[in-house]
């Protein structure tokens, strides 16, 4: 018999806010343990939750990017369970009226295009972290991550293979990074995934017994886990190797196996109820329209525009549209200098080189696009030599340079129109190096480059190379 796998995903993403969801503590990753903590996010009595408006902005943005309906009145609810990393013993989440519902995400795999329905997106607070110390056999709690805002994106069980799951997660990551909702870094835990999986005979409409694997945080592990679970389910159905039960399982990526954690019967009742301290959040037209207007173009639309409107190659357009930061920089620079091809070249070669050298990701590009445009313009009109322009570009990564021309002046990087200075240097260098002159005249082309280099160095690169070459040849052949 042939079987099909039915998969639904719950994806948690950490929202890119400065502060936590209900207090003003930093929401940044890292820091010393319990550095980003206040009485509110470590559960002390008497603090009342005040909703961070930016969290709702991002929840709405995520909803709109995934084609959801936005609930214009959205509520926060309490979910109760005891665990030491949850300081209040309840998590504030959205249960009764989540911010976004009924969305659709289109994915593309080797089998073509497919729509994956989104059930809902809700906002909630993250829990802390337990740190086990084997040496002293104690467990300590780090509350830095408590109340860091999350969105949970719940799909319908529309996925049917590991390939589709990967395509879906990559699509989510691309859309949400583009909209600056989250950096979606699985390795840092800012994107995590629970996989709900069941297996049924092909063509059947009845769902099989479902198991859930929690907190998966790498695509490769997800692929392996789905393949393992699918095989385990089929084996159980075909050969009766075990009885399948609805349960939560833990995936051990090292051993390549999943293990039962807890079954549905023993799972706690979360006792959801509306948080009386948080009034329903009402999203009025002005708020909704503002978020709608701020949505970015989808990456594939941008890519098409870059090739069509600006004549970039599909390859270059693809590279640029991998990251919102690159697109923003590209568009800002283009508005200043007017040459899409030049800007694309600078970004794809020079800027990418610097990022690689510094081990930065494309999303970490932080230079001012307008300044880059101004620099490219200076280069295009010959005011600054390309070599010097690269030096200015490198400096842009270390300091804020909004006016490259002023910077170039200050550092002596402006091409001089003073032919007297060039004449003087060329005459002196040619006179001081008769050997190279003789070599060149004897047919060694390289000797000219040596002389050229010496002159360029004397002139600090601030001359038109074409003119310098002409002047040098004239001097040698005098």
């Amino acid at each position: 018999m042939r079987y099909e796998t039915v998969i639904g995903l719950e994806v948690h993403i950490e929202l890119a806010t400065e502060s936590k969801i209900f207090c003003s503590c930093s929401a940044k990753f890292g820091g010393e343990q319990n550095d980003h903590v206040c009485p509110a996010c470590c559960g002390m009595p008497g603090m009342l939750p005040i909703v961070n408006r930016h969290v709702v902005d991002l929840g709405m943005t995520a909803g709109l990017m995934l084609n959801c309906h936005i609930n214009r009145t959205t509520t926060f609810d309490k979910k109760s369970y005891y665990y030491p990393d949850l300081p209040c013993s309840y998590q504030t989440t959205q249960w009764f009226a989540p911010v976004a519902v009924n969305g659709l995400v289109e994915i593309e795999t080797s089998k073509g295009k497919k729509g994956i329905r989104i059930k809902q997106i809700h906002m909630e607070e993250d829990a802390g972290k337990l740190v086990h110390d084997d040496w002293t056999d104690t467990t300590l709690v780090d509350f830095n991550r408590t109340s860091v805002p999350l969105c949970e994106i719940v799909s319908q069980p529309d996925l049917s293979s590991a390939e589709e799951v990967v395509a879906y997660l990559e699509r989510l990551r691309s859309l949400l990074r583009f909209a600056k909702v989250s950096d979606c870094r699985m390795e840092q835990g800012s994107m995590r995934c629970d996989v709900n999986l069941s297996v049924r005979p092909e063509g059947s409409t009845k769902l099989g017994v479902r198991t859930e694997m929690k907190n998966m945080n790498s695509l490769s592990a997800i692929v392996r886990a789905i393949e393992y679970e699918t095989a385990r389910h089929i084996d159980a159905i075909e050969n009766g190797t075990e009885e399948l039960v609805q349960e939560t399982r833990r995936w051990d990526d090292v051993k390549g196996k999943s293990y039962a954690m807890r079954s549905k019967e023993t799972a706690g009742d979360y006792r959801y109820f509306p948080d009386p301290n948080i009034m329903p959040v009402v999203i009025d037209d002005a708020w909704f329209d503002g978020i709608k207007a701020s949505l970015p173009e989808f990456p594939e639309i941008k890519r098409a525009r870059y090739t069509g409107e600006y004549g970039l190659s599909d390859y270059d357009a693809g590279l640029l549209t991998e990251s919102r930061a690159f697109c923003d920089c590209f568009e800002d620079a283009l508005a200043v200098c007017g040459s899409a091809k030049e800007v694309a070249n600078w970004l794809i070669s020079d800027v990418m080189n610097i990022l690689n050298k510094r081990q930065l990701t494309v999303d970490e590009l932080a230079i001012d696009g307008k300044a880059l445009g101004a620099l490219i313009k200076l280069c295009m009109d010959g005011t600054v030599q390309r070599g010097n322009a690269k030096k200015i570009l490198t400096a842009m990564f270390d300091e804020t340079i909004t006016d490259p021309e002023a910077y170039a002046k200050e550092h002596g990087f402006i091409v001089s129109n003073d032919t007297g200075a060039m004449d003087e240097v060329v005459t002196r260098i040619v006179a001081s190096d008769p050997k190279s002159v003789a070599d060149f005249k004897g047919g060694k082309e390289k000797a000219l480059m040596a002389l050229f280099g010496k002159c360029m160095k004397e002139l600090k690169g601030n001359c038109d190379p074409q003119k310098l070459r002409e002047r040098l040849l004239a001097e040698i052949n005098k």
């Binding site: 009595p45 005040i50 030491p84 309840y90 109820f273 009386p276 301290n277």
Partner: protein
């Protein structure tokens, strides 16, 4: 014990009940769980009192998490006279040179204490006094109020603590958080369904109040409003659910009482809580936990929320004709630790569940329209 902690303060200082957080003393909520708990921040009402020039006289003993009748469940012992409950705030007003005691009204205890003594308690409209820095028990209805010897003192202190607070998401806009002017009162309703079940002493108090009001030219009329009797059960459900959730943070992990008797995390939770919570709190937790279960949520908790709306509407109907509702503060004029807090909430729950303002004195309460605190305080003068 009257005070959990007492400070050197001038005459006319203000005491706080021990549900209100201060940084220079413990705040216990009357519970062994928080017997050694000192807050890192102070309540907004404390900040406001200090800013208005009042000194803090001390922290008055309270019943555990404010759930009980009149402080009888405090870990530090009840305050009684001749076997009858008095409550620390009322006893402090009777014997100490404080101007007022600022109390947290969770389940009517301060109203009962005032009405059954010579004091007066004003519970302002929900959202007009910040709850920032109060130990949470039943957030959807609990309110900071003022117990004083007379209406003028209560009004003075209430005016000092009212005000909008950005740190409290349920705080109303600034223009609503003001002690307004007293409005003229023509008619007062007595809800027959809420005067049932009182003993002869209390019935006499209600009659005396009616007579005093009538003597000052106010028409007092008896009306029926059977839904008011449902407030007790509905509030019991909401309060229990919220209390259960709010005290779940006391797990022995971070602060508060931690058992010495544990070998794993479940024992740490169970034993810490078993040792530190009193019987009423435990009962309320169990009750609340049940009302929120998946099985019961719709038929119990959600229904209680709907009853809350019906009662709000019933009051609105009454206030279309009447200026206030007269309600007994308790079933009798002397309560003991053997009486039942959930039962006595029959009289206090209508104002708790709706967030309407109430003034309690001389055995009775007057419940008024939202923002009618000044009117209710002026009425208290004629009782």
């Amino acid at each position: 014990m009257l005070y959990i902690q007492k400070f050197d303060a001038a005459d006319n200082a203000v005491a706080l009940d021990d549900m209100i957080l201060t940084t220079d003393s413990t705040t216990t909520a009357g519970s062994k769980m928080l017997a050694n708990y000192t807050s890192l921040f102070e309540a907004e009402v404390v900040t406001k009192l200090k800013a208005a020039g009042y000194a803090i006289a001390g922290k008055a003993n309270v019943g555990e998490f404010g759930l009980d009748l009149m402080g009888e469940t405090s870990h530090f012992g009840p305050v009684e006279a001749d076997g009858k409950l008095v409550g620390a705030p009322a006893a402090i007003l009777a014997s100490e040179p404080v101007k007022a005691v600022v109390c947290f009204d969770v389940n009517g205890a301060p109203r009962r204490m005032a009405a059954l003594s010579d004091a007066l308690f004003v519970k302002p409209t929900y959202g007009t006094v910040s709850r920032y820095g109060t130990i949470p028990a039943a957030c959807s209805g609990e309110t900071v109020g003022v117990m004083a010897r007379n209406a003028d003192d209560a009004a003075e202190i209430l005016a000092a603590i009212m005000g909008h607070d950005d740190k409290d998401g349920t705080s109303l806009p600034a223009e609503k958080c003001k002690l307004g002017e007293a409005a003229p009162v023509k008619k007062i309703a007595v809800v027959g369904d809420l005067t049932a079940g009182t003993d002869a002493d209390m019935a006499a108090k209600v009659d005396a109040a009616k007579a005093s009001l009538a003597a000052s030219g106010i028409e007092v009329a008896e009306i029926d409003c059977s839904v008011m009797a449902a407030a007790k059960t509905a509030w019991g459900i909401l309060m229990s659910a919220e209390l259960c959730n709010n005290v779940s943070r006391y797990d022995g992990v971070k602060f508060g009482h931690r058992t010495e008797n544990y070998t794993n995390i479940d024992e740490l939770y169970t034993n810490s809580r078993t040792e530190a919570f009193g019987m009423l709190t435990k009962t309320t937790i169990l009750y609340g936990s049940e009302t929120l279960s998946t099985e019961n949520y719709m038929k119990v908790y959600d229904k209680a929320m709907r009853v809350r709306r019906v009662i709000v509407e019933a009051f609105a109907d009454i206030f279309a004709e009447f200026d206030a509702v007269l309600v007994p503060a308790a079933s009798k004029c002397a309560l003991t630790a053997d009486d039942d807090a959930f039962d006595e909430a029959f009289y206090t729950a209508p104002a708790s569940i709706t967030g309407l303002p109430a003034v309690a004195a001389k055995g009775v309460q007057l419940v008024g329209r939202a923002f009618s605190e000044a009117t209710l305080l002026s009425l208290a003068k004629v009782l």
